[in-house]
């Protein structure tokens, strides 16, 4: 299998007509869901209901139902929060950064990745709120003139988090919706169902695909991409400051922001790959989301995985170089202490397995890719677990050392959050085009004018 890498491969395989692209992408929306879809959906909704029960119990009885203790006051909740926020980062990276870099292969996967961003941030936003124990008081985090005459402490990283995550959710949602407007117009003009037509008309805002619209639309898309690019880098930076600004050994480290951002992109791409591998198979989109896409994403996973591995090594170096006995102790405690099992799961999943992507055969094998990206997802969850729990469980005062054991409610909420995520993904895949129609058409073969010589002068 030799391939000339100097030639950019066709983004869409098989040169289908524009009409055929419309048909294949819109097919899942028009068709009644199959039996398999119902089965998967019911599994995911069951998980979601388990989460609802666990969260309800938590609200009623309090945080005591979780395994959190002193000194491990942050455990599964914040681990899940950081994990889900990280998952979201790939979507914005694909839709904004790759857009600015003129990576046209992103057009096939951008819509889905953006949707995943939104759903992941929804999952993430849940955790700090339920972790407060009294979520109905979470409104105090928003600066509004209240009768207590107090304001949020704007110099606290936890308040930065509120601003960063809510801005991220809003901007992702707006970005996604702007991308959807032309597609809503296409859906509006295709459907014969009156109810559907009304809904699509409302959301399409009367889009007419006019050149005058496109001119502003492309400008706005560019501005949004330009603003979303620093935003996506800032969000996980702010999340990392939740830790780095504290003085806990193992947290208080200036490498955290880049380390977290690289880890976020790493885990996000792994999740995008995991889901897209199923989506392209189930919806017959293999010619639009091609093996080349998967290979390119695998390369990014390889790069960011190596960056994460580098950060692990630097942590050891800094533990020694800082000259602080506490830092060194925390590092030793991570790798050889009570949570050594979690540390080594993290290292093997995040550093070792992605290195297999150096081999082209592995990169281009869907099955192996699927296995590795699932391992990366597991590894990245454990990374946050290790950072949070292994740093906290042995603090400065040996008399308060405590081993954290999750309870069944902890697991219920963790697996339930996957239920929430995949329920939203499933509903999305049946209601909206999973590939951006306008964007994929613009990169189809012969979609742009060629300016063939002679006639052009007229």
């Amino acid at each position: 299998m030799t391939k000339d890498y100097s030639v950019e491969p066709e983004i869409i395989d098989g040169n289908p007509s524009l009409k055929a692209l419309d048909d294949v992408i819109i097919k899942p929306i028009d068709e009644k869901p199959s039996k398999k879809y119902h089965i998967v959906l019911s599994i995911m909704v069951t998980l979601l209901l388990i989460m609802a029960v666990c969260v309800g119990l938590t609200f009623y009885h309090g945080i005591g139902l979780w395994g959190n203790n002193q000194p491990v006051a942050w455990a599964f909740d914040i681990t899940n929060f950081v994990f889900w926020v990280g998952i979201g980062h790939a979507g914005t990276l694909i839709s904004a950064i790759l857009y600015l870099l003129r990576q046209q292969w992103r057009n096939g996967i951008a819509r889905f990745a953006e949707a995943m961003t939104i759903f992941a941030v929804i999952c993430a936003g849940l955790f700090p709120i339920i972790h407060t124990g009294r979520p109905w008081l979470a409104g105090y985090l928003i600066p509004y003139p209240n009768q207590h005459l107090i304001w949020p402490n704007f110099i606290s990283p936890l308040v930065w988090d509120v601003f960063a995550v809510s801005t991220y959710l809003t901007v992702s949602l707006v970005f996604w919706y702007v991308g959807l407007i032309p597609d809503f117009a296409t859906l509006r003009d295709r459907t014969t169902n009156k109810v559907k037509k009304t809904i699509y008309s409302i959301f399409s805002l009367g889009w007419r695909s006019s050149n005058r619209h496109w001119k502003h639309y492309e400008k706005v898309y560019m501005i949004l991409a330009g603003l979303a690019t620093p935003l996506v880098l800032s969000v996980h930076t702010v999340v990392s400051w939740d830790f780095a600004v504290a003085v806990i050994p193992g947290w208080h480290s200036s490498i955290f922001p880049p380390y977290f951002v690289a880890g976020a992109i790493f885990s996000g791409f792994a999740m995008v790959s995991t889901v897209l591998i199923f989506v392209r198979k189930v919806f017959n989109l293999e010619h639009i989301i091609t093996i080349d896409h998967i290979e390119k994403m695998n390369k990014i996973i390889l790069l960011t995985g190596s960056m994460v591995g580098y950060a692990y090594i630097i942590e050891w170096f800094m533990a020694w170089y800082s000259g602080t006995p506490f830092e060194l102790f925390t590092a030793m405690n991570r790798a050889f202490g009570p949570y050594a099992w979690a540390y080594w799961i993290m290292v093997s999943c995040n550093v070792f397995f992605p290195q297999l992507f150096w081999f082209k055969k592995v990169r281009r094998s869907v099955l192996v890719t699927l296995m590795i990206v699932i391992l990366v997802n597991v590894g990245m969850w454990f990374e946050r677990f290790v950072i949070i729990v292994s740093s906290l469980n042995r603090d400065f005062l040996p008399s308060s050392w405590h081993y954290f054991k999750p309870t069944i409610v902890d697991f219920g909420i963790l697996f339930g959050s996957f239920g929430l995520f995949f329920t939203l993904i499933l509903l999305f895949s049946k209601t909206l085009p999973v590939v951006s129609l306008a964007e994929i058409k613009s990169v189809a073969k012969d979609a742009q004018p060629i300016y063939s010589g002679g006639e052009h002068d007229a």
Binding site: P143, N153, I155, T170, K219, K441, Q448
Partner: protein, 389 residues
């Protein structure tokens, strides 16, 4: 269809090349009101139709900078002015700690303003009553065809000519597009009013229930109904039945130093006033005197009580007797009280008491000035150029 007004004539083209050529020719033929509709942006079309570049970026720039300036000054205002946050000697304007929120807020408002700007100003969207919508032409151009439409209000418009012209450019499926009939919708229809009323009642009820009822049922009331003792309640746990515990014998409040000269009325024999009459001390003494002493002794210590007829007035402090008091004796009176005057030990700190005494001395001297005082004042006035007549 003579009763319908023509909006324009539309034609479809099959390839991006043909639409670009057609657009170029329509432009060159001098048509002003025409539009090109394509399922995705065609590169180079803006050059062909000589479209001005979008100026939405200025909206982003302006709103973004305004947002940054607003949030930065807002955070400073809350942190330093409205509710000063005194934590560990941290500055009131910590710029580095303000950067994250300033950045996030700038991005948020920059994005929202750009998108709303696009919707509202540029597109005039939502605009679901445009004549082009819901036509065969529109169904094609949002899918896989490229279209051009020449509008009827163009100065050169002529139905037959335009039809032929579009055909000559290679357009097919020529379609006449008509204006929609103006249908005036009444704003306040009974149905709509009923709907509004229902929404109002429902939201009011939901607010009432969630604030006035929900918060008083478990688990929302857990914070109110904790197992705790309240200050004045009877305790079933402690043998002395007091819920509020007395401090241990000999406890001293933080920052409070017990007065060791109880029973001695004049402490001047042990130590004098530790402060010198500086401007700072006098200002402190004045503010404390006005706060604690002036209600009974008067603003100028002349015994003109503000609480006349409510409370026995305090005596003037300008009497020979009081002028003759030593600083130690006045200090003792403020600390322990005298006759009907209570002790101010818990309200006025030691430093403040000594400052008050210095201020009282100044008031006394002002009532009974010496000749040398006038000389000094005149000298000071001369130096500052403030001529006294």
């Amino acid at each position: 269809m003579p009763d319908k007004k023509l909006f324009g004539i539309a034609a479809l083209f099959d390839s991006p090349d043909s639409i670009i050529k057609a657009a170029k020719k329509i432009k060159e033929a001098g048509y002003k009101n025409y539009d090109i509709n394509t399922p995705y942006p065609i590169h180079g079309m803006d050059d062909v139709v000589a479209a001005k570049p979008s100026r939405l970026g200025y909206v982003t720039l302006f709103i973004g900078f305004s947002a940054a300036a607003f949030i930065l000054s807002f955070m400073w205002w809350t942190l330093a002015i409205n509710y000063p946050l005194i934590v560990g000697g941290k500055p009131f304007f910590p710029l580095p700690a303000f950067i994250p929120i300033t950045f996030e807020f700038t991005v948020l408002l920059g994005v929202l303003s750009t998108v709303f700007g696009m919707f509202a100003i540029v597109f005039n969207l939502p605009f679901n009553s445009h004549p082009l919508l819901d036509t065969e032409y529109m169904r094609n151009v949002t899918s896989d065809k490229y279209g051009a439409v020449i509008e009827a209000d163009d100065p050169q418009f002529d139905e037959i000519k335009v039809k032929a012209y579009l055909k000559s450019l290679g357009g097919n499926s020529i379609e006449l597009i008509f204006q929609l009939e103006d249908v005036k919708q009444k704003v306040f229809e009974p149905k709509f009013l009923v709907f509004l009323t229902v929404v109002a009642i429902l939201s009011a009820a939901a607010t009432y229930i969630s604030i006035d009822k929900l918060m008083y049922i478990p688990p929302f009331d857990f914070m109110q109904n904790q197992k705790k003792g309240s200050a004045q309640a009877e305790s079933s746990f402690f043998t002395d039945k007091r819920e509020m515990r007395k401090p241990a014998e000999g406890s001293v409040a933080r920052g409070f130093i017990p007065y060791e000269f109880t029973g001695i009325t004049d402490t001047n024999q042990f130590y004098g006033n530790p402060l010198l009459p500086s401007k700072k001390v006098l200002e402190l003494g004045q503010s404390k005197f006005l706060a604690f002493c002036s209600p009974c002794h008067g603003d100028y210590a002349d015994g003109s009580s503000r609480l006349r007829a409510l409370f026995p007035p305090g005596p003037t402090l300008h009497s020979e007797r009081v002028i003759g008091f030593t600083d130690g004796k006045i200090y003792n009176i403020i600390t322990n009280g005298q006759n009907i005057m209570p002790s101010y030990a818990s309200q006025i700190t030691r430093e403040e008491r000594w400052s008050i005494i210095i201020y009282i001395r100044v008031l006394q001297r002002a009532q009974n000035p010496k000749t040398s005082d006038f000389t000094t004042i005149n000298e000071i006035n001369k130096e500052s150029g403030n001529v006294q007549n």
